[in-house]
């Protein structure tokens, strides 16, 4: 803070205190929704960049290399498990995103907690139903 402090004061910091992690157990559902939304958003953005980089082989190297790289990656078990994570991130981000758009239209502001639990429950159900598609 470059604000002029009119009295001497002790700056406990802002960046390291963000979210008051040491009190994480006291966080309310709305805050958890925010954390999860931001985290999944960052995961998806990172994946988008990586995805375009990997698929770029199709243009820059050629079709055989494209097939070889995709099959090579998919043969790794860890990649398939991570894909479930990606799917989970998308499903939660989508459902919670709908929740946020509802708020923007000033719908359901007073049932925000229930909506958050609903989005968690729905994403859990959808991801569990989707697991076989990724592992088989």
């Amino acid at each position: 803070m470059s604000q002029d402090r009119r009295v001497e004061s002790y700056d406990r910091g802002r960046i390291e205190d963000v979210g008051r992690w040491k009190d994480w157990a006291k966080h309310k559902p709305g805050m958890w929704a925010f954390y999860l939304h931001r985290f999944t958003g960052l995961v998806l953005s990172f994946y988008l960049v990586m995805h375009l980089a990997v698929l770029g082989t199709g243009f820059w190297l050629g079709h055989e290399e494209y097939t070889a790289i995709l099959q090579g990656l998919e043969s790794l078990y860890i990649v398939r498990v991570l894909e479930i994570g990606l799917f989970a991130a998308f499903v939660f981000h989508a459902l919670n995103g709908i929740r946020i758009v509802m708020f923007d239209m000033t719908i359901g502001l007073d049932i925000q907690e229930q909506l958050f639990y609903l989005s968690i429950a729905l994403s859990f159900a959808i991801v569990v139903a989707g697991v076989p598609f990724f592992l088989l």
């Binding site: 004061s9 709305g30 923007d104």
Partner: protein, 257 residues
């Protein structure tokens, strides 16, 4: 019959008011300490004792150097917002026996500490000022000497008018913490109070909306609902911000049509 006796025992204990509570209080005196620390106090409690009562009792009986800002003691002035057991609350509006034991009292998070539980509020007041929280009518009233407001219009701002500038919501809001250009929930709820006031006229309403629409204005709200959870007066700044951003976007779409 032994069971009834057992169940009656704790009741009897509360009736005689012989309970004690442990208070862990954040201490920092700039002239003496390099770093803040926590000091533990044991006090006797009574039915209906608030955290502020407890702190005053400690100051009176145990450590006269304990500093806390307070005035009305009835949740009216907003000077004693502190961080009690992980939530921003008014000390005078929180029962010692209801928040659990020990009671951990800290100054408002993300505000700079001047001494013990007293924080530097100027930055918060700057945020409040940035939304121009004063009445700016377009023109003089046509008839009579008074600015008349319809009861329906007044009802819109019934809750946001209760704001006591305690700073609890702004302390709980993470975008307000990381972005010093963001006015924060209290200021935006205050802006809503004037935005909704019909006596100000269309011109001022447009201007206010434009001002709030800056890239570090209403759109920085991430609907965390922390402000709504901690407000001691039951105001929902989230709701106010959402309504303003909805209106702002509607206005834009209307131009486009």
């Amino acid at each position: 019959m032994a069971t009834t006796e057992e169940t009656q025992k704790p009741d009897a204990a509360t009736a005689t008011d012989e309970e004690t509570a442990t208070l862990e209080v954040f201490r920092y005196v700039p002239e003496e300490d390099d770093e803040p620390y926590f000091e533990t106090f044991e006090i006797e409690t009574f039915e209906g004792m608030t955290v502020l009562d407890a702190l005053i009792k400690i100051r009176d009986e145990q450590d006269p150097s304990l500093t806390i800002r307070h005035s009305c003691r009835m949740a009216r002035c907003g000077s004693d917002a502190v961080y009690i057991n992980g939530t921003q609350r008014l000390a005078c509006n929180t029962q010692v026996r209801e928040v659990g034991d020990p009671v951990k009292v800290e100054p408002l998070p993300r505000f700079d500490v001047i001494r013990d539980l007293v924080v530097e509020m100027n930055e918060f007041y700057d945020r409040m000022e940035s939304v121009e929280p004063w009445f700016q009518p377009d023109h003089e009233p046509e008839t009579g000497e008074e600015y008349l407001q319809s009861p329906e219009n007044r009802r819109n701002i019934d809750t946001v008018l209760d704001c006591i500038w305690c700073g609890a919501c702004t302390s709980s809001c993470s975008p307000a913490a990381t972005d010093s250009d963001f006015p924060g929930p209290a200021a935006l709820a205050k802006a809503y109070r004037f935005y909704k006031d019909e006596r100000e006229g269309e011109e001022t309403r447009k201007r206010r909306l434009e001002m709030l629409e800056s890239s570090h204005g209403i759109y920085r709200c991430h609907t965390q609902f922390n402000c709504t959870e901690v407000c001691p007066k039951g105001i929902s700044p989230t709701e106010a911000i959402m309504e303003m951003s909805r209106d702002a976007v509607k206005e834009k779409l209307r131009f486009w049509r």
